[in-house]
């Protein structure tokens, strides 16, 4: 294959990995509302 085809493949892979990383980070940082149900498991 031509060198520029490899270049495009590498760039696409980098963009996909970067997008996936940003998506995972956004999910890890997203908030919620948590019940601190301290008595669960004792019922």
């Amino acid at each position: 294959m031509q060198w520029w085809v490899w270049l495009i493949i590498v760039i696409v892979i980098i963009l996909v990995v970067l997008g996936a990383f940003i998506a995972v980070q956004a999910r890890r940082r997203s908030g919620g509302v948590i019940i601190n149900d301290r008595k669960r498991g004792k019922k």
Binding site: R29, G31, N36, R38, R40
Partner: protein
């Protein structure tokens, strides 16, 4: 009187010390299953590469709650998450559940919808208590109230777990879509419960 805010409005607010240091941002709001009192916030670091932190912010350590930031005295106010969740006597991992998207059922067994946000009543005095006073729900189709989010008041003696959230059937009579009038809906609902008991 208390100020009503959605939990989603508190999430991602920056935590700043008196010294102006930007230490974290709010991630989760943690409240007690019995009574609905807000106990703490879990935190995420600042910046794209920062994930959740292993320390949390007890509500009692919050000295100011503004539109854009939560103020604490210093970074020393942050405590390890294990201490926050072990503050009483339960296990750290099995005793916690995110209630967003949980189903809301009446005590008569009718589904009202799924939780999309939580309404918190914050006391107007500094250091005052904050409580979960209502849920914002995406209404169930069987409710016949369309698809717009609705607010449902909760009794002041809230009892909840993560899978299903039970509310008295009378709560369905106080559904509203307006946060400004929700305070009076809560008062009316709680008065009715008080009168009935």
């Amino acid at each position: 009187m208390s100020t009503l805010v959605r939990a989603s409005e508190l999430a991602q607010r920056v935590v700043v010390t008196y010294g102006g240091e930007d230490v974290a941002q709010i991630k989760d709001i943690v409240y007690a299953a019995n009574g609905g009192e807000i106990g703490a916030f879990t935190l995420a670091g600042r910046g794209l590469f920062a994930g959740p932190l292993k320390v949390g912010l007890p509500w009692a350590a919050v000295v100011g709650l503004g539109q854009d930031a939560v103020i604490i005295e210093s970074e020393d106010a942050l405590v390890p998450l294990a201490d926050l969740f072990d503050a009483a006597d339960g296990p750290v991992s099995s005793g916690r559940a995110d209630i967003l998207k949980s189903e809301v059922l009446t005590d008569a067994g009718t589904s009202l919808g799924r939780v999309s946000d939580v309404i918190i009543g914050i006391g107007d005095t500094q250091g005052g208590q904050a409580d979960v006073v209502g849920y914002q729900i995406d209404p169930a189709e069987t409710l016949g109230r369309g698809k717009l989010p609705l607010l449902i008041p909760l009794p002041d003696t809230l009892s909840a777990s993560g899978e299903h959230l039970m509310v008295p059937a009378a709560a369905a009579n106080y559904l509203t879509d307006d946060l400004a009038s929700f305070g009076s809906a809560i008062d009316a609902f709680r008065s009715q419960l008080g009168g009935a008991s």
